[in-house]
């Protein structure tokens, strides 16, 4: 009981400290604001500009009604977390390094573990915030557009909420590791986006060229992305599965297990780097 109380006090202390650091950070405010607004309005704006299509492509209604709204909102959130919160995480960490406030924090009495733990709590907090916005925006959009609703239809999420949270933790951990590795803001941002959008894709294509098997799906970014995959993949997936003999998207459990493994490895690596380095 005492240990639990200490743990709770410790977590509250760390979160309060990070809150003091970032509550007045203009860039953080802008990014979180844009994230929140965009999460709710991107899909609604899409309704105005995307023409309705005929089957077998899904009609526009599926974007906004339960239960598929969870898929589409999740996919929008996938992009927003990856781009906006990934960038924010890099900014948080490299900002501490360039202003030497990380160093000063240790000098003032934090242990390295305290600092690392506090940044992990930032990851968890941002992921939880992103997930909360995902839930709220999906519920509002779904309730607004679904004509006949019943409880099981609304919450037919296929674990998407949990997967969304894990996906957010995944992107943020990747950003954290890259920032801890490269330490400068410019290089870290370039490497983060370079890895997420280009580098891993190139490696996967090279692998695909030589070995056409399911192993190409088990790369870190891909396994994180497949936690909340693009719902429009479902159709081509059918044809690709026929052609290649495997689906181009990991199943939910495959992505959960693989991304959890990568998140653990990235956290471990970030800790080992931080522990060993002079700061």
């Amino acid at each position: 009981m005492n240990k639990l109380t200490n743990l709770i006090t410790d977590v509250r202390h760390s979160i309060h400290l990070e809150w003091l650091k970032y509550k007045n950070n203009t860039l953080a405010r802008i990014i979180i604001g844009v994230f929140t607004v965009a999460f709710s309005f991107v899909i609604l704006y899409g309704k105005r500009i995307i023409p309705n299509v005929s089957p077998p492509l899904p009609g526009l209604d599926t974007y906004y009604t339960f239960p598929t709204v969870w898929d589409y909102q999740g996919h929008i959130g996938n992009w927003l977390v990856c781009v906006l919160f990934g960038f924010l995480m890099v900014h948080f960490v490299t900002g501490e390094i360039s202003a030497k406030t990380m160093r000063q924090g240790i000098i003032n009495g934090q242990t390295r573990w305290d600092f690392y733990k506090a940044k992990f709590l930032v990851i968890v907090s941002l992921a939880t915030y992103a997930t909360a916005i995902y839930i709220i925006s999906s519920l509002i959009i779904g309730i607004w557009h679904t004509p006949d609703m019943y409880f099981s239809l609304i919450f037919d999420t296929n674990n998407l909420v949990g997967r969304f949270w894990l996906m957010s933790v995944g992107y943020l951990t990747l950003a954290f590791l890259i920032a801890m590795t490269f330490r400068t803001s410019g290089i870290s941002v370039i490497f983060y986006f370079g890895y997420v959008f280009v580098i891993e894709f190139i490696f996967r294509m090279i692998q695909l060229y030589f070995f056409r098997n399911k192993a190409i799906l088990f790369w870190p970014e891909n396994s994180i992305e497949d936690l909340v995959p693009n719902p429009l993949y479902k159709l081509p997936s059918f044809w690709m599965e026929k052609e290649w003999g495997f689906s181009p998207v990991l199943s939910s459990w495959e992505s959960i297990i693989t991304s959890s493994f990568y998140i653990s490895m990235m956290l471990l690596l970030a800790w080992r780097l931080f522990k060993r380095r002079d700061i």
Binding site: H13, H16, L17, L20, K21, N24, N25, T26, A99, K100, T101, R103, Q104, G105, I106, I107, N108, G109, Q110, T111, R112, R276, R277, D278, I279
Partner: protein
């Protein structure tokens, strides 16, 4: 009581030995100046004892291990530059320091008053001049009333007025009975503030002890007259010629113990010399430092 004990601490950056088997003990209440030229290992030493730089070998212990992993909460320290969140003001930055130290502080009026930043407390750190940043860094070290204060080149980069302000602040802090460790290459600063001095060169501890002990009792005279040749001849008849140096417009010499300016003036007059300039002074720490580093470098 021993506040800090360092035992055989070493750190190398590639082929450069930044700190070489450094050992020292700092007792409570000591105002220790760590002196050394740039690159002598002062900041690396402070970095290691503040846990931001890993040592290659050797150990150190704060407060005889009394506070475990959290000994740094009993220390107020600045290392190299003042490090704060640029987008936060003085109050907000100090609040973060207090939160890290686990100190419940009811405002920072006293500290801001002491460091002269009360009027600018709501300005963002990035808008401060270097002197103000340095003062805020010194103010932050005082949060939680720590037993030990550590300053690394506290007057670096400041203008003369800034140097005078910081120096006055440090003298006031040193008089409060706290243990202070201050790295500097400005000897005058150490001479004025510190009770003890440790001299580092190329990562090695050359000497350590009370300032009065490191400074010997040699006294020097600076003399000038209209006929400098006659002055030199007279001095050479009285003082070892190797102790006489020609300076810009005057001669400088080490004088035998016990001589006062009046006695030297009288002696010169008795020898037919009317001095136009005479100054008797103690040996400067600067001269001591150069002498010491030369001697020990010669021993290597």
């Amino acid at each position: 009581m021993t506040i800090l004990s360092i035992n055989q601490l070493s750190k190398a950056y590639g082929n450069i030995q930044a700190v070489d088997k450094l050992s020292m003990i700092v007792e409570r209440g000591t105002i220790l100046g760590i002196l050394g030229p740039n690159g002598s290992g002062k900041t690396t030493t402070l970095g290691m004892i503040l846990d931001v730089i890993h040592s290659d070998s050797g150990t150190f212990k704060w407060f005889n291990g009394e506070y475990g992993l959290y000994h740094r909460k009993q220390i107020g320290a600045t290392l190299e530059t003042p490090n704060f969140y640029p987008y936060l003001n003085a109050d907000q930055n100090l609040e973060i320091v207090a939160q890290i130290k686990g100190v419940k502080q009811n405002g920072f009026d006293d500290i801001l008053e002491l460091i002269g930043l009360k009027a600018r407390r709501k300005s963002k750190f990035k808008t401060y001049s270097l002197g103000m940043k340095q003062r805020l860094a010194i103010g932050a070290t005082l949060i939680g009333d720590p037993e030990v204060l550590i300053f690394d080149e506290p007057t670096n980069g400041l203008d003369p007025q800034g140097i005078a302000e910081i120096r006055e602040l440090l003298i006031n802090l040193a008089s409060t009975g706290k243990t202070v460790i201050m790295a500097s290459h400005i000897l005058d600063e150490v001479e004025k503030i510190c009770t003890h001095v440790a001299i580092l060169k190329k990562g090695k501890l050359l000497a350590m002890g009370p300032v009065g002990f490191i400074l010997n009792n040699d006294r020097f005279a600076e003399l000038a007259t209209e006929n400098m040749m006659e002055l030199r001849n007279w001095l050479q008849s009285w003082i070892d010629p190797s102790f006489i140096k020609e300076m810009n417009g005057y001669l400088e010499c080490k004088i035998p113990a016990g001589y006062t300016a009046a006695q030297i003036n009288k002696l010169a007059f008795e020898n037919g010399l009317v001095l136009t300039y005479l100054k008797v002074r103690s040996r400067k720490l600067e001269e001591e430092f150069i002498e010491l580093t030369k001697t020990l470098a010669g021993d290597e």
